[in-house]
Symmetry: C2
């Protein structure tokens, strides 16, 4: 199942990137300070939730009234490890792999895409943003020669476990898994599964909520 | 900002698809009942969290010891509105749009893709899984002729607001927004933004956590 244990609960960790996004927007809008109440209202969480979350990482938080936007942004950026750089590769250069390769914002945040890999001879040798699509057979060799921190898996379910094995036995420390299947990896490997359906299903919930509660309230 | 208010907090709503996935897996593994403790351990949330979440939707939950897996799965499926069908379109038939069009699992859950739209003449007229890519200029006409519930936006930031305006002024009730920008929509429209970076940043956090706490503990 990979590295399940984190010192701070995943629920807290998952809120940090959202805090960072909101703070970034405030900073860009030239907001210097923000009260904890205002910040919490914007983000739809309680002020005490924000305080508790930040307290997991030591003693920052409110000084005087509210937060200094830039300081808090920088602190959260550091906590998220976004003050350093990571080498990534994408395995599976189909539509999704190419879409992810196209997100240049990831590069700006320190994630450098070193190569893509695919089995399809029509894709092998092509370049995306000057990054080559290589034959997946060369993946182990590539990993011997390059330090890769994060493997991004955009391949079909049936090839997923085998690819995860190659990645993890050749020094890759984390897998960003879009393959819609659970992976069996050593205990020190980080796996982050992306379930786009979770996001879609919140839409069907919300389209349906009023009717749902009309039914519940009647019972 | 669109429809911000839900009767149940978004934090609860976002946990429901995860519950459903775990229950689906249990069901497929022929597990009939599960204690609330075991369910909570598998999912990494507390038993009381699960109870509280389910209590938002009325009186189900534990009967005797633990949960009946099939019943709870069906209940959550109903709550998520996955017992009905939704018509969707994708605006932006680039890599990401094509990748999403390829997720046949969405169809199985009741989301029927009616068409894709793009500005690129090279894409217009092509078919994906027998679904045509249409000229985005025909989008308003298409929306007059077809009931579309959810518009999936996979277009660059600069075209996003204009497209959202066309969708929402022509009967689309919800937008699944991959355009990496906030949308200004009427109050009764549901917007679900997908921020893939939030998921990626939990990886950099975890790669960095041990060092982070070594530093925090020293202070």
């Amino acid at each position: 199942m990979g590295k399940e244990r984190t010192k701070v609960s995943m629920a807290v960790i998952r809120r940090l990137p959202r805090y960072q996004r909101y703070l970034d927007e405030l900073f860009k809008n030239d907001v210097k300070r923000i009260s904890s109440r205002e910040l919490s209202e914007r983000m739809g969480v309680t002020a005490s939730q924000i305080r508790q979350d930040l307290n997991c990482f030591g003693g920052f938080g409110q000084q005087g009234y509210g937060y200094n936007v830039e300081d808090l942004y920088n602190t959260i950026t550091d906590i998220l490890g976004l003050n350093r750089s990571y080498n990534t590769i994408i395995v599976g250069a189909g539509n999704l792999g190419q879409a992810i390769a196209g997100y240049t914002n990831f590069e700006k945040s320190g994630f450098t895409l070193k190569a893509l890999f695919d089995v399809n001879p029509k894709l092998i040798g092509l370049r995306l943003r000057d990054i080559e699509i290589l034959d997946v057979d060369t993946l182990p060799d590539f990993l011997h020669q390059h330090k890769v921190d994060i493997g991004i898996m955009c391949i079909p379910r049936k090839a997923a476990q085998q690819t995860a094995d190659i990645l993890t036995s050749n020094g890759v420390r984390a897998i960003w898994n879009f393959s819609m299947t659970d992976l069996d990896v050593p205990a020190d490997i980080i796996v982050e599964n992306v379930h786009l359906s979770d996001s879609l299903y919140t839409i069907s919930y919300r389209l349906n909520e009023e009717e749902l509660f009309n039914k519940i309230d009647k019972n």
